[in-house]
Symmetry: C2
Subunit: 113 residues, 2 copies
């Protein structure tokens, strides 16, 4: 297959996308942006993180095309470039929740023995 290279390139890009998701602050920001466009100020307040940190993470996601920024007067409003990213996040989140549940159930059984 000649498009073996294409496949590899796609895996590379997909890995980059996943790398962009691989930070707790960024995941929280994406979740917040799921409710619609929001100014940085809101995101800083909602996450409780330092402003510079939030800006840095937004910059990372912006550079990789995961979010888009738009100036609105003195503010900059961020929004999701593709809402489907949340579908992917919710799947992994649900997987984690289920795993924690199983672990907890097991701990109860083992602890009871």
């Amino acid at each position: 297959m000649i498009d073996l290279e294409r496949k590899r390139e796609l895996y590379r890009l997909q890995a980059e996308l996943c790398q962009t998701l691989a930070d707790p602050t960024r995941l929280e920001l994406l979740e917040l942006l799921g409710e619609g466009p929001r100014p940085v100020k809101d995101l800083v307040r909602a996450t409780g993180q330092r402003q510079a940190k939030v800006s840095q993470h937004l910059a990372v996601m912006r550079q990789r095309g995961m979010v888009v920024a738009e100036r609105v007067g003195t503010e900059v409003h961020y929004s999701l470039a593709d809402p489907r990213i949340l579908d992917a996040c919710h799947i992994t989140r649900q997987m984690l929740i289920d795993r924690l549940r199983r672990q907890h159930a097991l701990a109860v059984v083992v602890g009871g023995e």
Copy 2:
């Protein structure tokens, strides 16, 4: 909310999970494992990567509970711990494909002007 800590902890775990996905070789391995349990030998041949590299990546995913290993005679068969991981991967992949398509369409338009 008292479970703000829970939420943060969940984001941390989710980030770890995404970090585990953030490598092209691992994404390819997961895709291959989607077809069912497979010995390392197969995975090495299918990916064309060095055996040590494949083993290292399988070890990473095993330690983080993304795949499970089972000895079968002289071989070790790997399989997905939770097939839902592929659903998440397919979403991100489709997002990428759509984005590339849009970029390509735009390039054609711009190039034609």
